[in-house]
Every structure is written in C-alpha cells, then in structure tokens.
Symmetry: C2
Subunit: 339 residues, 2 copies
C-alpha cells in the first residue's frame, strides 16, 4: 500500500497505460497525483472512478509524495527525478537517463526483483527492447548458462511516442495516394519502409539503442561476459516490438526442454505451432502484458544454439507494465507503505 | 549471342523485369519468344521497339529454342522445363524445383560462375533471400573463411507476386479506414504487421524458406560445414528484402578491411555512414540491380564476428537480374550461340 503516489508524464503514450496498469495490477494508494509539463498541466484525466486534474511538474510538486512512476524523455528525467528524490520519494524511472548509474538498480520483477532492495531513491526500468529479450532469456540462463546472444529487432513506431504513430499513419496514407511525405519523428519516411537506425551513433558503429541492449542485459543479469550483438531496426508497425533472437547456452538443452522452460517462465507466453500458423505477431500482442515467444528452433549444428521469435507490447511490458510491477514490488517490500 | 531466346512467365512480376534486364544487360538474341500460361497467352507485350504476342506455354513451344529464362511457380517449372530440355534448349530456371538436384548447378555469376559450365540443360537461380546474402558473404569467405551465419530477414511482399503487393496495399487501406481485411496471399493480415512464416513447415521447426537459405548457401559455396541459422519474416514492405546478418569468419578481419572487401566486391554497393543517416533501406533500393550493404560492425567480443545489414530488390538481383546474368554468362561461354 502506497500512501501518496505520483505519476509523471501522465498524458503521454506510456503514462496513459501506467494509469491503466495501476488499476489493473491493483497497486493500492491513498492519494494519486498526476504531473506533466506545462503543455498538459490543467487537463482532466479519468482514473478509475475519479477525474483528476493534471498538475504542473515543478520542483515543489513532490512534497509529501512516497512513490513516483515517471515516464518522460531523458532530459526531463534528468531534471525532475532529483526533485522527487530530494523530497523523500522513491522514483521508478522509465527513461534511459539513470539506468547505467552504479547506485541505480535496473529492475525487471520477473528477473532480478532483489536488485530493487538496494535502491538509493531511484529504480530504473529497462529499455523496451532489452526488457522483452531478458524476460525470455532468463529461463535459459538459469537452466544452462548463457554465453552469446545475437538479436535483430523489428521495432514499432510507438517506441518514439504518439506523434510517431501519427506520422506512420499519415505517411502511409500519403504513400498509398502517391503524395509526398516528410519525416519528422524518424530519420526517413517509415511508411512501407524499414529504417536501420534507432537512436544516435554511439560506439564502434552501433547505435545508442543497440548499445543499450548490450549494457542493460549485462547489468540486469549481473554478468558482463555474455556476448550480445544487437541490430535494431524500425519497422512500419504501430505497437509491439518483435525480436529474432539467436543464443548459445553454456550447456546443451533439448528442444522439448527449451519449450518447457518457456512455458513455465514467469511473464512469458509460448505460442508455437507452425503447422497451425500460430506464432506471436505484433497485431495480436498489442494491449497485452506478456512477453510472447514462438518459432523456437535448435541450431541445426551447434547443440547449444537456440533460435526464437519474441514479441511484446513495447508500451506495456516494455515500459508501463514493468514500471508499475516495480512499484507493486516496492509496495510489497513495504518500504513505501504508510505502515 | 543467343540465336533463339524464350522467356517463360513473361507477364509475371519477375518476367516483366526479365524483359527489362535483357535489354539493360544487352543479352543479344536473333529471335525472342514470350511464353505464358493460358491466362496470359495472346497478350501483347512491348520489348524494346518490338511488340510481341505472348504464346501458349505447351510441349511444342520450345522447338528450335536455344536458351530459356523461366520465371514460374515450382509446379509449372516441374512440368515445362523438361519440354525445353528435351527440345535441346538450355534453361535458366528461377523456381525452387530443380535447385537442389545434384546435376543442376545453382549459380550466382559473381560468386560461382564456373559451376554453370557443368550444366546438363538446366541451371537454377537461387532463392531471393539466399542470393543477396551469398553475394555479400562471398568477399568475407574468400578473405578469411566462414564458419557461422545467423540471418534474420525482413522480406517484402513482392516475393509472393503481384497479387501479394495488391493485398498489402488493399489491407493497409482497410486498416487505416478501420475496416476489416482478409488475408489470401498470406497466412495473416500483413498490413502494419509482421508474419514470422515464409513458406511451409519444413524440418525441425524451420520453414521451407529458412531451410532454402541453409541448403542453397551450402551448395553455392560448395561447403556444408558453414553453420547457417535463418529466421525468415514477412514485413509490410512492397519491394526489397532486407537482412540482418551476423557471421563469424575463420580468421579475424579488422573493420577497415571488412569495409574494403565490401567496397570492392562485385555486385555489392556499400552505403555506410550512420552519422549522416546513410544506410540501405528498401525504399531506396527498389529498381536497382545491386546488393546494398551497410551498418557494418565488428562483434564487440569475438574478433571473428561481423554484423551487417543487407538490402536488395528481390525481383532484381533476387530473381530477374541474376537469371539474365546467368543467360549472359552462358552466351559468353558461347555454348548457346549460333556460332
């Protein structure tokens, strides 16, 4: 039970789902405060039976708040999260800004819940692409160790916000009508196209998104020796990130055992029957909290190699669902309860 | 110089480009005959300055023909290619039907031109996804050997024909309008979606398309020891297959050397400048004969690991362009010339 809960970025694509997930996961609170930037402050938002007015995100906004769930761009998190921490709140932050800081736990409740205990006021929720991959890899790691991951992503535009979804729809309409389209949210026109760049140039030719998948995986698993090769691609899909994952375990696993591990893994739903055309697809996974896994195949040569396909709603488990799960975990650890 | 050339499937998506490529590559002939099924026989088709009438594809149609370029479904190739061979013609066949037969060379002119010499009347052109990957991998194989390939594809709908392109456009319009859409050419609605199945279930959970990428790569490179893990995904793109490729060479290669190899490889065009947002994208590669490579990165851990992104027009180098190149190669080897 949380006494005073604040949701920052309450009117954004992820923030709206945070409010839904708070109800859905029954994260109990006495009082709820919605915060957003000037553009959205003053708006009315319905939460359950209540109608709340969004308040301005400013230094004094966190007085008396116990728990904050923040869904904002990195630069907003950089500024406002310290306000909350200084006011004595614990912050679950969905931005990338604090994730790699040494004293900030990076938490997926199904994977490393204990890491949350060591927080110093901020707990980070991982990148959407990392989260679904790590949830799926966790049972394989536990059963047989993990030495190598090669992942190619097929990322929906909603990772870039509501305006990006509108741009995909608008540009697709233009393309179907043969009219010219301009790209604002993306580097190039994404309609009926693929863009092999997510984020900015980071190191050794990799983008920031690709490096996040490497470093965040290492941090969450607490193991820097796992080799991760990531290629992140934007695809013309509205919601739902997909990933083609190849991994090598340290010990060989039979296919039936791999399927059983996925079937029993927390947060994972296995859909794998090629004969009946059953496998995860973004169109089917939108709005669901699970990480969906399918197309599971053993490497034809290496007994330690496994291929699979992984889809999850990037706004849910990749963001809002995970953040609220962290909030729930904290409230159960009772360090944010009124006691 | 070919005396009598026949193009089978001349009115299809690939056949139309075969006719273009014959002009473009200057595959010289004395006489050109266009053949197609009953549905298309009788149609007039413009080829250069000539207007030709499409004739019926039937057993006697190949009398006197020296060279055939056939772009048909597998079942049509199974029936009609033997008619041509019996009539004494050499057939360049783009279907999958003959590719893995022992006495049929599987040829990419930049990669294994000499294999064409050993033909017994049929030369097969590889699967579109295989062709672009093998063209890109060839310089790495030659320079440092190749032990492992992990490939995830992003395949355009045009691989499934003109009707598939119409279905993507129609279903996308329906989705934008909120109307229901049905899938005929694909297993599911492909509009703003991804389908992780191309072809039918083949073996060990892999699809026929995925197994083609394994076996055809082995046959073209003449090396069954290269481990190939393929995951083939249909994406809502009209034309142009993309591939995220991870490979391990036998000897380490420096990044600069890899870039130089790609820059000098026949058939490959390197576009690789992340800082200026330059990389191959299907929207830019449509209508071009090249295999485009970009986003080249070394594995952060394994000195023999290389990641890259590869895009090519699946109807061109993936089909028509390669088949006409084989025809051109044969005509230069002068075993189909009038002498």
């Amino acid at each position: 039970m949380v006494r005073k809960l604040a949701v920052v970025g309450a009117t954004g694509a992820v923030g709206q789902i945070v409010l839904e997930e708070i109800q859905h996961q029954k994260l109990a609170y006495d009082e709820l405060k919605l915060l957003a930037s000037e553009r959205s402050a003053g708006k009315k938002v319905k939460v359950g039976d209540q109608e709340l007015t969004v308040e301005l995100l400013e230094p004094g906004a966190f007085d008396g708040i116990d728990l904050v769930i923040a869904s904002t761009p990195d630069e907003v998190a950089a500024e406002c999260v310290p306000w909350a921490v200084e006011a004595g709140a614990i912050v679950v932050d969905e931005s990338a800004f604090y994730r790699m800081q040494e004293d900030v736990p990076l938490v997926i409740p199904e994977v490393n819940p204990d890491a949350a205990l060591g927080h110093k006021g901020i707990i980070a929720s991982p990148n959407c692409s990392t989260t679904q991959m790590v949830v799926a890899l966790k049972p394989l790691l536990d059963a047989a160790g993990l030495s190598k991951v090669v992942v190619s992503t097929y990322q929906a535009v909603s990772g870039a916000g509501l305006a990006a979804q509108e741009e995909l729809l608008r540009n697709t309409t233009s393309k179907l009508n043969g009219s010219p389209a301009s790209a604002k949210m993306f580097q190039h026109d994404i309609a009926l196209n693929l863009i092999p760049q997510i984020g900015s140039e980071k190191q050794d030719g990799f983008t920031s998104e690709e490096i996040k998948m490497v470093r965040e995986t290492h941090k969450i698993f607490g193991d820097n020796t796992i080799s991760v090769n990531a290629t992140c691609i934007r695809v013309p899909v509205l919601v739902g990130h997909s990933e083609s994952i190849y991994c090598e375990t340290k010990e060989p696993l039979e296919l039936q055992r791999v399927l059983e591990l996925f079937r029993n893994a927390p947060g994972v739903t296995l859909i794998d029957d090629l004969g009946s055309k059953s496998y995860p697809m973004p169109a089917d996974c939108e709005g669901k909290p699970d990480v969906f896994v399918g197309r599971v195949r053993k490497d034809l040569d290496n007994p330690c190699g496994i291929n699979f396909w992984c889809v999850s709603d990037n706004l849910r488990k990749g963001a809002a669902t995970n953040a609220v799960q962290i909030g729930k975990l904290l409230s159960e650890q009772s360090d944010v309860s009124a006691g």
